[in-house]
Each structure stands twice: as structure tokens, then as C-alpha cells.
């Protein structure tokens, strides 16, 4: 990050508990504009919760979240206004099953940004076209493959022109042969300079796309650094142990 540039996202001492269990135990993380940060770690390490607190879906117990210089965890901040700038794509797609692909994509631009129908549809169609989905515009989500649904979900998030995109295990619910089509879309977004925070189990992908990789365990970031260093010579013994298990499972 250049000196004086406002970070896209800053987390300071973020703590979240579900009942008695503390899921995030003090997270500090800064993401620069146009940076791609991958969060790796075992299931239950807090990756998803971390993403969900950035767009205020999960309330914080302590700490601050600052997006583009604005503290969004401050009292009285309009959460709807914040969420417009932050896109999130979920593992389970979460498309709206009673709406066509086109309506899924145009709903928020029309209702939240106040775009008129023609403008919203034009934007949606050009996004669909770009990701090879234009023939699916009038389908209902149930009729699409998992990979197509996830690409539609990404398009739906992009239609809000977010400054920051959060991706939560977006390929984990997909059949192996459908993973590539979704990863290619994300790669394309990274090449265009989209700022992204990505929770993933795809280590090869993380290594390939990330500017920085953070290893989470038990609600803490244990190690972070450029992917080449993290994946080849991790310093923390627990990172080493996690990666050796991944390698043993043939996933790197």
C-alpha cells in the first residue's frame, strides 16, 4: 500500500462470540485497495464469521471495522448504506428462488440504488454476457447448475458496483468439475483490480490469486504474508501442520 492511501478495509481487535463460545478472538487485518487477501484455515477457524462481520451481518462484541476510512461499527451508522459498497457471495449461493436470474440481479440496483428498470437490466445483461450467462437470463435458479448459480450470485453482487467483494467458500458447495468456471470469474475480477477478501479451501487457487494469505486458527490470525512464503516456508508450526495435512490430502 502506498503511504497515505486509505485502506479499503481495516479490522481492529475484532471479537465475536456465539453464546459462550468466542469465535473471533481479536482480529487485526488491513486490506489495501485492489488487494486480494485470502483467508485459509480449517473449518471452524472463524473465516466465514470474519467475512460476515465486515458487512455487519454478524454483530461485533468488541473491536472496530473501518471501510474506506469510515468506521462502520460506530453507533448510528446506516448499515444499509454500508452494505451497498460491500458485496458478499456465499457458499450456498443464496439466490432468490422465486425470481428469474435477471430479477435476482436487478432487484437491489432498482430498489436500493433507484436505477430505472431499463438501466438495471442493461447493466445486468452486460454482466451476464461477460460471464457467459446471457442465455440464462429468464431461468429460475433451480434450473441452473451449481456453477452457474454461483456465477449468477457473483454477478448479483457486482451489479451493486461494490468497492469490496467478500467471497465465503464460494466453491465449497460445487462439484469438482464446476469449480474452475467460478474460479476463473474471480481471477478475472482480481485482474481488473477488484479488492477482495476471500475465505477458501482451494489452496492452489489462493496461492495463485492472492497478494497476501492469512492463516486463521481458533479465531486468530496466526500468520500472514505473501502466498509464496506462506505456502513454501511458513514460520508458525501450526501453519506448517495445517499445510502438511492439506498436502497429504492432495489439495495443494
Amino acid at each position: 500500500m502506498n503511504a497515505g492511501e486509505t485502506p479499503a478495509l481495516v479490522l481492529e481487535g475484532v471479537r465475536i462470540s456465539f453464546g459462550e463460545t468466542e469465535v473471533l478472538k481479536g482480529i487485526d487485518l488491513t486490506v489495501a485497495p485492489h488487494e486480494v487477501v485470502c483467508l485459509i484455515g480449517a473449518s471452524g477457524s472463524g473465516k466465514s464469521t470474519l467475512l460476515r462481520c465486515v458487512n455487519l451481518i454478524e454483530p461485533l462484541n468488541a473491536g472496530r471495522v473501518v471501510v474506506e476510512g469510515e468506521e462502520i461499527t460506530a453507533r448510528g451508522v446506516d448499515e444499509n448504506r454500508i452494505r451497498r459498497r460491500i458485496g458478499i457471495v456465499y457458499q450456498a449461493f443464496n439466490l432468490f428462488p422465486h425470481m428469474t436470474v435477471l430479477r435476482n440481479i436487478t432487484l437491489a440496483p432498482r430498489e436500493v440504488l433507484g436505477m430505472d428498470r431499463a438501466e438495471a437490466e442493461e447493466q445486468a445483461l452486460s454482466l451476464l454476457e461477460r460471464f457467459g450467462l446471457s442465455d440464462r437470463r429468464d431461468e429460475y435458479p433451480d434450473r441452473l447448475s451449481g456453477g452457474q448459480q454461483q456465477r449468477v450470485a457473483i454477478v448479483r453482487a457486482l451489479a451493486m458496483r461494490p468497492h469490496l467483494l467478500l467471497l465465503d467458500e464460494v466453491t465449497s458447495a460445487l462439484d469438482p468439475e464446476l469449480v474452475a468456471e467460478v474460479l476463473n470469474v474471480i481471477r478475472e475480477l482480481a485482474d481488473e483490480g477488484m479488492t477482495m477478501l476471500i475465505a477458501t479451501h482451494e489452496m492452489g487457487f489462493a496461492r495463485d490469486i492472492a497478494d497476501r494469505v492469512c492463516f486463521l486458527e481458533d479465531g486468530r490470525i496466526l500468520e500472514e504474508g505473501p502466498p509464496d512464503r506462506i505456502f513454501t516456508s511458513p514460520e508458525n508450526p501450526r501453519t506448517r501442520r495445517f499445510l502438511s495435512r492439506i498436502i497429504a490430502a492432495g489439495r495443494l
Binding site: 458485496g87 432468490f96 422465486h98 453482487a157
Partner: protein, 272 residues
């Protein structure tokens, strides 16, 4: 699919079943009397169209349909409001939620006929400027709406709760407000899911319009009773019953079609 032998067995079983019933009915003492008192073609027709002294059931039945149609619309609206209020989160809305819960508890718990008496005889007794001088039918509709809204609100609530929380999360994270998420994402899915149970309640409502007769309105059941009492023939009850059945069957088929259409639409399009 049934095999050849199974078809044979099921046909034989069906014929035998109805033959036994027919024989039992025909041999029963008083079966001729039943035919005359309940199924006399003359009385069936005359009670349907009415005489100079007795009201026709068909015309009276239009009153049931009228009360049903008006109250159904009002119930759909009032019940939705109650269901939505009941699930608004936050401490500020606690009294509103409490009122919604109390409403449902109260009007589901009290028999409709008591509510009819309380509204139909009680409110006129208050001597209020406007509310005490309405027609019996209006009081009947008010009572039906009050009671059935409590049931239908619970049906809506079940529908709302059946929509997975992740749908709301997806809507909110796109920047939609709580209200927009409810309106565009949650409620449309919830309502689709509860159409069959809603229909069930509306069939009940259609039949319960007959209870408004306790306030003095001459609707189909009351007209049938008047005819039966003066002609000593109960074909009028059969006629009224048939009319109620005739209107619920199309309602049921209509709902089946709505469900099928929704299913078809979601599965339509280019079949990959």
C-alpha cells in the same frame, strides 16, 4: 401403475363395496321415508328457487358468497399485518409484538359463535354513533374477519419462518432494508408455501358464513331451516349442503392450479 390382475381386483372391490352400501341403504327401515324427506325432486327444486312464503336457498346462498368474498380479502390483509408485526425484532416493537400475540391467542381461543353474539348484539347495545347502527351482515363479516385473521396470521407466520434465514442475509447484504427484504424476498416465498393451508382455512370460512344466521341474516343454512320447518321436508338441507360443496370444489381446484403453475414456471425454460 397397476398390473392387469391388480386392476381386476380393484374393480371387483369397488363394485362390491358400493353394492353392499346400496343394499344396506335400500333395506334399511325408513329408506323410503329418507328418499321422500331428503331427496324428493319436487322439494329439492322448490327449496332451491323458493316459494311465496319461503326464501329460495340459491338467492340466500349469494349472501354467503358475498360475506365470504368480502371477509376473505379483509382477512388476507389483516392477518398479514398481524404476522408481520409479530416478527419485527427490536425492543421498541415489544408492545406491538405483544398485541399481535394477544390478538391471536384471544381470537383463536374463543368460539366464533360467541364472537358473533358479542359483536352482533353487544356493539349495537353500546349505542355508539356509527358502529352501533350497522347491518347484521356487517357485524357478521367483522366477527368472521376478527376470528379468521387470527388463524390465517399463524399460517402466514409459519410460512415466514419456513424461509431460511440465509435468504434474509443475502437480501440484507445487498443493501436492502429489513422491510424491502421482507417485501421482495421473504413474503413472496412464504405466501407461495402457505397457499394450501390458506385454502383450508378459507373452506372453513366459507362454511362458517352460515353461523352469521344467528344474528338474523337469512343466508343459505337459515333459508333451508325455514323451508324445512314449514314444509316438513328436509330436502332444503341437502340443497344448501350441495351449494356449499359446489363452491368449495372450484376453490380447491383453483388452488391446485396455482400451485402447479408456480411449479411449472420454476421448472420451465430451456431444459438443459
Amino acid at each position: 401403475m397397476l398390473g392387469g390382475r391388480a386392476v381386476l381386483v380393484s374393480s371387483a372391490s369397488t363394485v362390491l363395496f358400493f353394492a353392499v352400501i346400496a343394499v344396506v341403504v335400500a333395506l334399511a327401515p325408513g329408506s323410503e321415508l329418507v328418499a321422500e324427506r331428503f331427496f324428493s325432486p319436487f322439494h329439492l327444486w322448490q327449496s332451491l328457487v323458493g316459494t311465496e312464503s319461503e326464501p329460495g336457498i340459491l338467492k340466500a346462498f349469494l349472501l354467503n358468497v358475498y360475506m365470504f368474498a368480502i371477509s376473505e380479502v379483509l382477512i388476507l390483509i389483516l392477518a398479514l399485518i398481524i404476522a408481520v408485526v409479530r416478527q419485527i425484532p427490536g425492543p421498541v416493537f415489544f408492545p406491538f409484538r405483544m398485541v399481535a400475540v394477544a390478538y391471536t391467542d384471544l381470537f383463536r381461543g374463543v368460539p366464533l359463535i360467541l364472537i358473533l353474539y358479542i359483536i352482533g348484539f353487544g356493539v349495537p347495545g353500546l349505542g355508539l354513533t356509527f358502529f352501533s347502527y350497522l347491518s347484521d351482515i356487517t357485524y357478521g363479516i367483522i366477527a368472521l374477519v376478527l376470528v379468521y385473521s387470527a388463524y390465517v396470521a399463524e399460517v402466514y407466520r409459519a410460512g415466514i419462518e419456513s424461509v431460511h434465514e440465509s435468504q434474509n442475509a443475502a437480501a440484507r447484504s445487498l443493501g436492502l432494508s429489513r422491510w424491502q427484504s421482507l417485501r421482495f424476498v421473504i413474503l413472496p416465498q412464504a405466501v407461495r408455501r402457505v397457499i394450501p393451508p390458506l385454502l383450508n382455512d378459507f373452506i372453513g370460512l366459507q362454511k362458517d358464513t352460515a353461523l352469521v344466521s344467528v344474528l338474523g341474516s337469512i343466508e343459505a343454512a337459515r333459508a333451508a331451516q325455514i323451508y324445512g320447518a314449514s314444509q316438513f321436508n328436509y330436502a332444503s338441507y341437502v340443497v344448501a349442503a350441495a351449494l356449499f360443496i359446489l363452491i368449495t370444489i372450484p376453490l380447491a381446484r383453483f388452488t391446485d392450479r396455482l400451485i402447479a403453475r408456480d411449479k411449472r414456471r420454476r421448472e420451465a425454460g430451456a431444459l438443459a
